[in-house]
Symmetry: C2
Subunit: 242 residues, 2 copies
């Protein structure tokens, strides 16, 4: 940062946007909340909710505003993901975007989906483990949607981040309602990781983690022994990571 802002204003500088990859769990699969663009560029394509950062708002504030204005959502879990700044990523000009990801239980989207052009699209992750790469979003018929800008890469980076994080950070809870069973949580992990998980060790590990608070209640209306309902306990006594 060698020059005064007055110097810099003589030259054009990049525009700055935020985009939000909002993920949820629906029918045991990861879904993203996408909107349909009706203006060029990429008219007709699906895109992440996003918007330009105002001169007087922080990045998290911009994200909160975008989620409110475009999705009618508030109070959702949000974390910064990565900043994408390739020169050619927006045909309109130089736009650098700070991508965030948001996680919400699918029930919280009922209101959002009623509002306008939003659709919940199942994600198709064509790579294993945490390898990374773009991800496809499927329409109701299972056909891949055209995604605007580099949003396929942003979605891919989101899944990659979640896969690397879910084993040691309590992010799975953000995709579940306040009360859930261990099987619910297991299915979240399986959907994120894209592979089956050992049920017993998962149970033991989670019960020992101190992250679960028993509610004393049971899952109702199931034609078999009902599972215990748990609640996420924040500030689980962490045991380091080594």
């Amino acid at each position: 940062m060698e020059a005064d802002e007055t110097d810099l204003d003589r030259h054009p500088h990049p525009h700055l946007a935020v985009d939000v990859a909002l993920l949820t769990l629906h029918e045991r699969a990861l879904h993203a909340l996408l909107l349909r663009r009706d203006a060029a560029p990429f008219a007709g394509a699906a895109s992440l909710p996003g918007g330009f950062v105002h001169i007087d708002e922080s990045l998290p504030d911009a994200v909160v505003r975008v989620l409110r204005e475009k999705c009618g959502l508030h109070g959702v879990f949000v974390e910064q993901l990565f900043t994408f700044g390739d020169v050619g990523r927006d045909p309109r000009g130089r736009v650098v975007t700070v991508a965030y990801y948001a996680l919400v239980p699918v029930a919280a989207l009922a209101a959002a989906r009623a509002t306008g052009e939003l659709t919940l699209c199942r994600l198709d992750v064509p790579w294993p483990q945490t390898q990374g790469g773009p991800v496809r979003a499927l329409d109701a018929n299972g056909k891949p949607l055209r995604l605007a800008f580099d949003h396929d890469v942003i979605l891919g980076t989101t899944v990659q981040r979640l896969r690397g994080k879910i084993d040691y950070a309590p992010v799975g809870f953000e995709l579940l309602p306040p009360q859930f069973t261990l099987l619910d949580l297991l299915e979240v992990h399986q959907a994120v990781l894209g592979c089956p998980i050992n049920k017993d060790s998962f149970r033991r590990r989670l019960l020992a983690s101190g992250l679960l608070a028993p509610t004393g209640r049971l899952r109702a209306n199931v034609a078999h022994r009902p599972a215990a309902l748990f609640r996420f306990r924040r500030k689980g006594r962490g045991k380091g990571h080594a």
Copy 2:
């Protein structure tokens, strides 16, 4: 992204910069390469090498340029860290910075340190584990330096990221010369993590990881049994992460 760029140009938009937290290992401790600011704001304070992003260069290109222009360095390991965009973080106006971290063996800095106002400052991390928070940079006398902008937080985020990553990603090698002993690598991990590590399990884990290629050579000029020298083998056959 709802508006045309022509619309947006009517309004002022944030400036965009990159800052690089360049870390190395010196005397078994993490050090950062800092430069002394001679212009306001924060004149006299220490700061990360950084600069504004040009309209026609990608973010990685801007980082490479900054490292070349300000530090005389090229070919170093660089990864994106986090984007800092608080409204008040730069008193000159709205500047959002995409922070990167770079890792280099200390020997590679000989040239850089000769060039101008660069100093290698030992880092003092006042928090355990991966808790996070700002980090102090110490001068040659061990006194904390005044750090410009939010660069104390950027350095803290770098250490936090490294601590979370070094156990499962091959980043420790970037801080070592091409050939090194297992004890060298262990000391890198200890310096990053800020806590002692079990020597035997470290040896077993690393030898089994496939990341080390034996060179057949031994450390010379030591008054005891010399350790074997290894080389970092890229593309170690990863075994997933579960």
